[in-house]
């Protein structure tokens, strides 16, 4: 900043230059730096999880299982903060289903309770149970799954038969194997899979413990690979970083698109409001572990990170720089202040849900038909997220980013081509 000031003085054009102007490119560089740090943290914590899973599988017990579960929860903390990068950045959006697809028909992977049912109109493989079935036919093709390989999970089973609920990889597949189904409905308790599901001897419960262990080991290693890939997209020269920096107005638009789409359609709508309206615990984001309040909270925190240009890493160090907030404030301080307050409010509301869950009201209990208090808490957070979305739209308008996302269109460039 002082250098800018000095240059301005030397040039003798102090009055003509906005000496402290926030440069879009600085804001974008900081945005990319924060993404790089978040995905690097996601890799680090996924490796810790992977080590804990391998320790558990080497010596299955209540204690080693609990350590693995804690590592999974910890791994969610940085990852959820990356979700604000999803919707604005096609490179992230095209990839994210490989690590965070949800909701899943978990019967694809392993045994399930009889109440789960079998194949459905929507999904012929909802109860495939690959752990119990080393060979099966998928859309007319015979599949040899005797070896549970990364390719089997990511190229054959993931979205098998074109059905999104066939989730074979990522955090939620691992979550299902660590916790099992949550059979408590909207009552107390999360999934309660016993460590013996992975026992290496006669203690094995529910059969195929070796294949179950192979699946968990493979899914965990694959998660590390996937996150490694995405972290590499954000370092110097990475494709996602380059895409953000290519055009300043477009880059800022990508930032705001990510904030708005996550706030409104995804978090407020798909993940929160729908569950309340359906009273359905299966609509809970982290439904096996009941970790949902934290996942929602860190989604919200991620939005604030982008706005303030500030991220606290898992080792406590801070990545910070030119802030979107200041860029908006230059044009419209009112919008910047209001959006800042609204994000504080949504975070406080999401924090209330965390507190309530820590005090014994799990997220799925909040979805119960007669839990007015839970419903009010969730809908309070939904309203706050919807409110901040309106201000994000106002920020887009204030920064005059109009038109940046309207690209060339067949219908105007060559109308005949469209209607032939």
């Amino acid at each position: 900043m002082s250098r800018t000031f000095l240059t301005a003085l030397v040039a003798g054009t102090l009055t003509a230059l906005p000496a402290f102007a926030v440069e879009k490119t600085d804001v974008l560089t900081n945005y990319a730096n924060i993404a790089a740090a978040k995905f690097a943290d996601s890799v680090i914590s996924a490796k810790t999880l992977d080590a804990a899973i391998n320790a558990f599988l080497a010596a299955p017990s209540d204690e080693t299982l609990e350590t693995a579960r804690l590592a999974w929860r910890a791994a969610r903390v940085p990852y959820m903060q990356t979700e604000v990068y999803r919707f604005g950045n096609p490179i992230v959006d095209d990839w994210e289903g490989r690590v965070n697809a949800w909701p899943l028909d978990e019967g694809l992977i392993d045994y399930v309770d009889t109440a789960y049912g079998g194949a459905t109109d929507e999904n012929a493989f909802a109860a495939l149970n690959v752990i119990a079935n080393p060979t099966f036919t998928l859309s007319g093709t015979k599949v040899d799954a005797t070896e549970i390989s990364k390719t089997l999970l990511s190229d054959v089973l993931q979205e098998a038969d074109g059905v999104e609920a066939n989730v074979a990889t990522g955090y939620h597949a691992i979550e299902f194997l660590l916790w099992g189904q949550d059979l408590n409905g909207t009552g107390t308790g999360a999934g309660a899979r016993a460590w013996t599901d992975f026992a290496t001897d006669d203690a094995c419960t529910n059969g195929n413990c070796d294949r179950r262990a192979d699946y968990l080991r493979t899914a965990s290693a694959l998660l590390v690979d996937e996150l490694d890939f995405m972290a590499a997209q954000w370092i110097e020269g990475g494709a996602a970083r380059e895409a953000v920096l290519a055009d300043p107005a477009e880059g800022i638009s990508m930032m705001l698109t990510g904030m708005g789409s996550l706030s409104y359609g995804e978090l407020a709508g798909e993940r929160m409001k729908l569950g309340v309206l359906l009273n359905d615990p299966e609509e809970e984001h982290d439904c096996f572990s009941d970790n949902t309040p934290y996942s929602h909270y860190y989604d919200g925190l991620g939005i604030q990170n982008v706005f303030l240009g500030h991220y606290t890493r898992i080792d406590g160090s801070v990545v910070t720089g030119a802030a979107l907030k200041d860029l908006i404030a230059e044009t419209d301080k009112g919008v910047a202040d209001q959006l800042g307050q609204e994000i504080n409010t949504s975070l406080a509301e999401l924090g209330e849900i965390v507190t309530a869950s820590e005090n014994g009201m799990a997220y799925d209990m909040m979805l119960a038909r007669d839990n007015a208090e839970g419903e009010e808490m969730i809908l309070g957070a939904v309203d706050a997220l919807v409110a901040q979305t309106r201000s994000i739209e106002r920020a887009v308008a204030a920064l005059d980013l109009q038109g940046v996302s309207v690209e060339g269109s067949d219908s105007l460039d060559a109308p005949d081509a469209v209607f032939e």
């Binding site: 409104y264 309206l277 038109g403 269109s409």
Partner: protein, 327 residues
């Protein structure tokens, strides 16, 4: 004062770029009034005779009215999740039939009051739950309880529709008409009023292309006819047509600007629909007829592209965020 006069003069000379008040008065309000009336008739009919065959015509008529106004996804219809409850679809996890089957098996007395019915899962309320009760082989043999359930859900639907109309009439319409006026806290500028309607137009076109048509289309190798909307009642294609008519009404009332490509796009889509003799879109599974449905889907996508380009620059707004921005 000089400014105000200059501004008025400028407006006088300019063509009508966007007319939010006209959309409100000639599209939104009459459409919600029609919905409130036809859902009340549906409730009354179910009260007189709850046999599915007797209720179906009134359900069809009310559903028609809903589809016409379904592009409007903001304001009173968004409050308390009404849009999701009135039209819970798609239902990829069969939450609707599951919830209804449970209610019927347990003969859950919660539906004996309006307050109780309002606590039900969204999947057990609204037009699509009623479609299961009126057309699904699993439910059509009515018992005393399922008759009560049809009555409760139709009454609930009429109640929500009346509440929506009432909320528009008693304040929301005025706040949208007066977007940007001093003291208007919902719409801080005229632009925000235009933007919310423009966003509704684009989001509605996208939903019809990607979901109403895209879901049954699936992929060439794996078509999904049973994912078509309202196939049980035989009105999948009708829903496509009615939603497009509503969207066209929204577009035409919003602006007098010349939008030849958008207008031609609507006409083209209606022509294709008229030529498509396939009420439940079952043709997606046959390579020959599938192509016609793909062409229709492409036509609807083209309307959206055209509207985006033709209207965005001229209206001076870009689409805002919409509820379908998530997955």
């Amino acid at each position: 004062m000089k400014h105000a006069i200059a501004l008025i003069a400028a407006l006088w000379a300019a063509p009508v770029v966007a007319d939010v008040a006209r959309s409100v008065d000639t599209y939104i309000l009459p459409s919600y009034a029609a919905l409130a009336e036809s859902t009340a008739r549906l409730r009354d009919q179910a009260g007189v005779d709850c046999a599915p065959a007797a209720v179906r015509p009134a359900w069809n008529a009310a559903f028609d009215d809903w589809l016409h106004v379904s592009p409007i996804h903001f304001g009173p219809v968004e409050q308390d999740g009404r849009a999701v409850i009135i039209a819970f679809w798609p239902d990829g996890r069969s939450a609707g039939p599951r919830a209804l089957a449970r209610l019927i098996a347990e003969e859950d007395p919660i539906i004996s009051t309006a307050e109780g019915t309002a606590k039900l899962s969204a999947a057990a309320r609204g037009f699509y739950a009623l479609e299961h009760l009126l057309f699904d082989a699993q439910f059509v043999d009515t018992t005393a309880y399922s008759c009560d359930l049809i009555r409760a859900v139709t009454a609930d639907l009429a109640h929500m529709s009346a509440d929506i109309e009432d909320a528009w009439m008693t304040g929301y319409a005025e706040s949208l008409r007066s977007a940007g006026a001093t003291g208007n806290e919902t719409f801080l500028s005229e632009r925000e009023g235009i933007q919310i309607l423009f966003t509704s137009l684009l989001a509605g076109l996208e939903f019809t292309a990607d979901t109403r048509l895209g879901r049954p289309l699936g992929s060439f190798e794996n078509p999904r006819p049973k994912r078509a909307e309202s196939w049980r009642s035989g009105r999948s294609l009708r829903n496509v047509s009615l939603s497009l008519q509503g969207l066209q009404a929204l577009k035409n009332t919003l602006s007098d600007l010349e939008t030849p490509v958008t207008d031609a796009g609507f006409e083209r889509a209606f022509t294709l629909i008229a030529q498509l003799d396939d009420p439940v879109l079952a043709g997606v599974a046959d390579p020959q007829s599938r192509l016609k449905i793909e062409v229709l889907q492409q036509a609807v996508k083209s309307i959206k592209e055209a509207a985006e380009v033709e209207l965005s620059a001229l209206l001076g707004v870009e689409a805002g965020f919409n509820a379908a921005d998530g997955d």
